[in-house]
Structures are given as C-alpha cells and as structure tokens.
Symmetry: C2
Amino acid sequence: MFEFHLEATRGLARAGRLTLPHGTVATPAFMPVGTHGVVRGLSAADVARAGAQIILGNTYHLHLRPGESVVRAMGGLHRFTTWSGPMLTDSGGFQVFSLEGLRRIDEDGVEFQSHVDGTYRRLTPEGAMDIQWALGADIAMAFDHVVPGQAPHALALEGMERTLRWLDRCKARHAELTDGRSDELTNGRSGEPAIGDPLEQPIARPSDRPFVRSPDRPLAQTLWPILQGGTHDDLRRRSLEGTLERGPWTGIAIGGLSVGEPKPVMHRILETLAPDLPRETPRYLMGVGFPADLLEGIARGVDLFDCVAATRNGRHGTAWLPTGRINVRGAGLKGSTEPLDPECDCEACTTYPRGYLRHLFVVEDMLGLRLVSLHNIRFLVRLGEQARGHILAGTFDGWSREWLRRYHARGT
Amino acid sequence: MFEFHLEATRGLARAGRLTLPHGTVATPAFMPVGTHGVVRGLSAADVARAGAQIILGNTYHLHLRPGESVVRAMGGLHRFTTWSGPMLTDSGGFQVFSLEGLRRIDEDGVEFQSHVDGTYRRLTPEGAMDIQWALGADIAMAFDHVVPGQAPHALALEGMERTLRWLDRCKARHAELTDGRSDELTNGRSGEPAIGDPLEQPIARPSDRPFVRSPDRPLAQTLWPILQGGTHDDLRRRSLEGTLERGPWTGIAIGGLSVGEPKPVMHRILETLAPDLPRETPRYLMGVGFPADLLEGIARGVDLFDCVAATRNGRHGTAWLPTGRINVRGAGLKGSTEPLDPECDCEACTTYPRGYLRHLFVVEDMLGLRLVSLHNIRFLVRLGEQARGHILAGTFDGWSREWLRRYHARGT
C-alpha cells in the first residue's frame, strides 16, 4: 500500500510511481498546499482539474482550526475537505519554528503561542503523530527541529541531532498508533491528554449525502522522516546516516532548505545527498518551490515538492509563464484578447482573455485570485508531468536546459 | 428576436418565455448581478451551473472600469466576460443617484464624481445609450431619474416626468444606433465625444482560442423603459401611461422600488400597476430581491428580478434555506456533517458538509464566500423555476403560501 516503483532515471532525474491508500502519484510531482484543509480559494474539484495528484495539509493550522478532534469526528481530512486522493500532512515543525513571538524549544518539544488566539500550546513528537493520526493523512511527517538557512555549524548540529532523537519518538508513537496499542491519543511522553479541542462531536454517521461516504478502510498511514543539517554537508550526511539507521522508510524528506540560503547551496546539498539516498525510496523536497526550483530539484533526484508560492503569487496577481513571470495587473494586458498563457490548458488560460483577468484584479474581484492561483498550480503540476515524460523518453537534460533558458530570459 | 410568449397565468402570477439574441429566458426568473462584468467571485461557468439564464451588467461600473471602449474593442460584454447567454445592462441611473458625494442633476443629465478616482463625469440619456450599445447587451435600460423611497409627491413627480422626457431622448438615440445612423458614439445632446476611455485597442482579431469567437451577428439590442413615480399611485399610473404612449416596448421595468419604502407599499404599487401593464410584455422589477420578495413579486405579476443580495449575503456568510436564513459562521455548524441545505442541488450543498463551510469562513478562505454566494444564487434561481412549474401546473397560490409560511417561521 506504500510502494514506490522507480520507472526510469536520467542522470539523477527520476520518474516513478508512488502508491498510497488513497491513490497513486506519478512522479516527479508538485503537491499543492492546502494550509487549512483547503488550497487557498480553490475547491478540491478545482485542484483535481488542475491535475494535482496529492495535496498537503498543515498540521499546525488544522490543529488550531478546527482542531484534529473535529476533523476526526467528521470522518477525517479526506471527508472534511472532500479531497479523495492521496494526502500528506506536515508535522507542524516548520510552522512552529517560523512563528513570530514566543516559542520555547526544549528536548520534550516546543511551546508556542497560537497566532489565532494567543494561547500557549505545546507540540511534541508524540503530539504531532497523534494529530496527524487523527487527521488521517496517507503520509505523516516526523516532527523536526528546523534551523534558519544561515545557521552556524553548532546550531545546525543541535537541530539535526534533536531531529534524530525526535524521530525515534515519532517512530515509536506511530508504531503504537498503527498497532492499535494506544487507546487514547496523547500529546506528551507520559500520556497526558491530547492537546486541542476535546471530542465535541459524535462520529459522523453514514448518510446518503455524497460527502458522507461509507466508512473508510482502517486507517493506513506511513511515516516519513525529515533530513536536517542546515547548509553543512557533513551534517547533512550524518542526518541521512542516522535516519537510514532508524529505517526502513517508505519515503524520505529533505527539510530545512529554501529557508534563506542561496540557491546554489541548496543545489549542492541535494547533490551531496543524492548518491546516498536509497534508490527505491521517494525523495520529497519540502517547501520548494518556484518553477525553476522544480526543474533544478528534479535534475538532482527529487521526486516530490510542495510550496505555497503558486497560490501566494496567484493571489498577488503574479502568473508564471514559460517565458517568465508576468504581473496580471500590468497596463500592458488592458484590452488584450490573448490568453494568459497560450501553451496552458488551465481554466484561466482556455476561458478568459488577458484583458478580463487584468480587469478582475483592477476591480478586486476574488475570481481573479482564484483563476491565477489555479493557473500557477496547473503550471507547476504540468511541469512535473512534462519532466516525467522527458525522463521516461530519455530527453530530460536537453529539454530542462532549454526550458530554463527560455524561462530565465525574461524573469524568474 | 425580442419576443415574450406568455404561457400561463395563475391569478396575477405569470409564466412565460422571453426570446433574446443570446438565448431564451423561461420566466419568472432571477437574474444575478454581474456588477463589474463578473458576478462577484463567480465564473460565468459557475453562474451557468447555478441555472441562471440571464445576467445583469452595471453600466456605471463598466463605464469606469474598464471603460466601454475597452469592452467594445474586446468584442463586447459577452466575449469579455465569457457569458454567452442573454445579458441586460442597467442604465447607470440608479448607481449615479445612489452615489455618495457630489452629483448634480439637471435636465441634460447628471454630473457625478467617480468613486474610483474622484474625477468628474457626466452621464446623459444619450450617453447611457451609447455606453450600453458599446457594451453590447441584449437589453439596454433607459436612463431614469430615481428618487428615494420616501420622496414626497412633488419630488417623485419631478423624477417621473424627467424620466419620461429622458425616455424620449433614449428612444431617439437608441433608434439612431440601431439604424446605424450614428457614425460615432456620443455622450451629449449635441454630439460631444463619448465619455470614457478612447478606443485604445484595435478590434479583436479572430483566433482559434475558445474565448475569441467568430464575429457576432450584427448587434441586436432592445431598449426597455423604466417606470418611476415613487410610492404615489397616481404618479405610478401616469408614468405607465406616458411610457405606453411612447411604445411599443419589448419589456417594461418597474424602478424606484426597494429603495427604502415599506414592503407593503411596494406590493401595493405592483398591484396598482398590474392591471394596466400590457399582458404580452415582460415585467422586470429592478433591484429585488430577497427570497420572499421574489414570491411576493411573482404573485403580483413580475416576470424578471435582479438583486445583489444573493452574493452580498453569501460573502457575509448568510445562506438562505427553505426554513429561513442561517449564519454559516454559527457555532452550531461546527463539526456538522449535514449538508447546508438538504433540499438544494448546488455545488456547496451537494459537495461539502456544513462543518467544512463554517471552517472556510472561520479561516477566512475565499472558497467559503464563493460557495455560499453560489448557493444563494441557486436558491433564487430555483425559486423562479419552482414558481414557474407551479404556475404552469395551476398550483402556485397554495405552494407560494406554504413556502412563505415555512420560510418566515424561522427567519426572513
């Protein structure tokens, strides 16, 4: 049920097929981010029409609102969001470390202040497992200690080693959950009650409404570890070694990149790790990226990506085109009857003239935000599809080089 | 091409079929408002899926942004918005009279200050015709002088008589446009240049993109007059007499209602007008309304309605149900796996549980605004469909009474 079948390689670039309880993901693939159980402004049907095969849910955000107990009582994240395909949840680690304001890290976990209501909360490796279990994702991520992109060796070492110790705890807790040895979800090392809302709702009862499906198969969830070590090659290697010792894993994530370090550094780290990453295990580069980042990552062996840039840029009126980015608000689009991207098959590009999309931003109608977000998602999803096709055909290197040349000729 | 076929009556309630250049409208019918050439937050496809047969565009807003010349250069409002069905534009009269800040009314027209950039502009009967002609709607509305709902007899008389004088000018100008006697669109009585942006764009050239269709048939547009007279029965009768003297018309609108007067007064005016309105002419009640208003209007002979309440309420999280309205943000919806309205066939009600819709409003995701707007539009559109079915079946009075009883039992 958690299988990765490597179909072809071209240099380091790989094409594969990841089988999960809710479906299959042909890789390389971009995974849109459904922060609050929704890809900003888009319906699950929109995202599916854009060709996305898997989406990501944010544990931190869903823990705060509506709370994992509410999601669980409603039948899990798939029923809650109506996204019936594969789903991955992050562990909350990255969000908690990115929070402004108070957060206190100790060996047990992280104390942080909710950005919603200012209350103090605690997230631990065990708690992160419990929340993700309650949410019911196909893939749960280990709780990691992220350090800034410019972190010195000592700090990066501390974060990397703690991430390994926390991985032990995540693995143990996930095994308990999987084996049904845990009668009650907890949030601490010693069995305190789960954080978040108590179970306020009875378990959803079956009904004939389409969104209340027959009960799912018993929860099948896999746990993926996250590599840390900052920008230091030696720490990255030790992180990988330590992680593999704790395996086997059905997938391995590379965290702590795209957090402020220069792009060549990210590329070097990927190149450092590539030879030692298990060939038959999918590789997920977290929080990446922009169009060019996808191709650079794929060229260095990455199979799976996620990033909010597609929707964030879309909401701000920046659309990605094969010739670089464009500001949809730009005066040059006024009155234009051309499509936004003549090479694109998304709803925005096949339905509306540029002049209308610009008008939507000028009058501040949210349809514009939705359409450009959708275009950017389709753009990244298709980039994954195209890369896959070229890897299978053995033409990836030349195609990728030419694609990047054209893209960078005008923008980034 | 502009025909109304009356199919059945039940008391004053009527079911008919209005044939327009871009399609047919089965009446009674609710017409969603596409203020800026977009029904707030919804795509043309969304609105079509909600069953809407005709939409309204706001002349005032489209004149300011993007300007009628831009819309004309892009092939007209249908191509601009991708709404291929029937479309009606208002005359800008109501918007101009509702504007805060300076507006100066004289016999020639209205000088007003743009809410967008504060510039002073002038709108005249001829200008309103020219703009609507450039936009390319199926139905253009005459430029009218609207007075507040509580206007005394003298002021209502002035507005009503001016509306008739302006109707003469609208009719003359529309005839010139229709006959091709006007080489250039103008905005004044004496042929000044058209207001708004000059023609900046060449006429859209054909292409193989779906939204750039082959050139439309030559523009066919009909002009509908608007009855005024405030809340004064004698003035309303004189407005109708004067309007009919200037006919014949393919449709007649009732304006200046739902502008602050009590609902029983609106009902009385409709009852006053009904016997003298031409039986074979569709009757359009402008700016109405809420669900109960639709049924009350239909019972008094109205065939066509428009109102922003459906989308405005939707954006604020108020959904209309057969049992009255509901606040989608309400704590009672938390965790609910029930549909928003089990009797509704819209996307929101057939796809999502209440608990998820509430969550979207709590986390302020615009998908929530879109879904509840869509539900409310579908609710009004279906109310028109249901009323039509009951009129045709001869069961309208009983059904309508029972519907209103149930609706008012909990809310309004």
